[in-house]
Subunit: 115 residues, 2 copies
Amino acid sequence: METKAALAALAALAQDSRLAIFRALVQAGPAGLAAGRIGELTGIAPSSLSFHLKELAHAGMADSQQAGRFVIYTANFSTMNALLGFLTDNCCGGNPCSPVCSPACEPDTTEKELP
Amino acid sequence: METKAALAALAALAQDSRLAIFRALVQAGPAGLAAGRIGELTGIAPSSLSFHLKELAHAGMADSQQAGRFVIYTANFSTMNALLGFLTDNCCGGNPCSPVCSPACEPDTTEKELP
DNA sequence: TCCATGTTTCAAACAATATTGAAACATTGA
DNA sequence: TCAATGTTTCAATATTGTTTGAAACATGGA
């Protein structure tokens, strides 16, 4: 995952309404939730909800599919996992590191340059 | 970790400069980096850097300690791990779930209702 | 003590993001 | 086809976050 994508994913989650939406989708699992149901669960008004769902989808954190007159949204677990990987990458410069950063990182030998 | 803290942590990371700063700190490991060194690595102006370091510290993503006339910043790995845990919590409603969300969650077969 | 270095604060200008309500679009079933 | 339901779009408004430069503060060494 690139920095740009990670930034988009983080920005998508770093907002009250969207974090609530995403958590509802994560809980719902692969079956997902209809937009209206998400609105019921979170209390977000339709137009605002649609805006935030679009943001999540654009950041790759959610996917949508039409099902009759409903639009079903699901959490994108692979993007989420890529984000978690990105955040735990390069821990301690790739050197073996102390328990302070376990279990988030593995010893690693690559040396990376800052941008 | 509470939603409020997770939101603060996500907001702290969801910004260009701060994500770069945080990654530099993660790479530096427990030894940390002086503020000025972070500025050199990232090209962020002093006053802006100070603002962002304060944001990271306030969100619990970084800690600081005075060392002579330098201020050393370190990544807070336990907050980072708490955030990762928060994001992977409750996957698929705690039910067994398909490979789509592995390795973040464990297979489970129950169907749960959202709150 | 004074000076040089490192860091932070402040307020103003600037830029990006969120909410609202009305209207439009899409789908289904009568 | 029409009416009902579900969802999205749009533009205006409100809110929040970021950068800048000058000044202040803190520390260590001459």
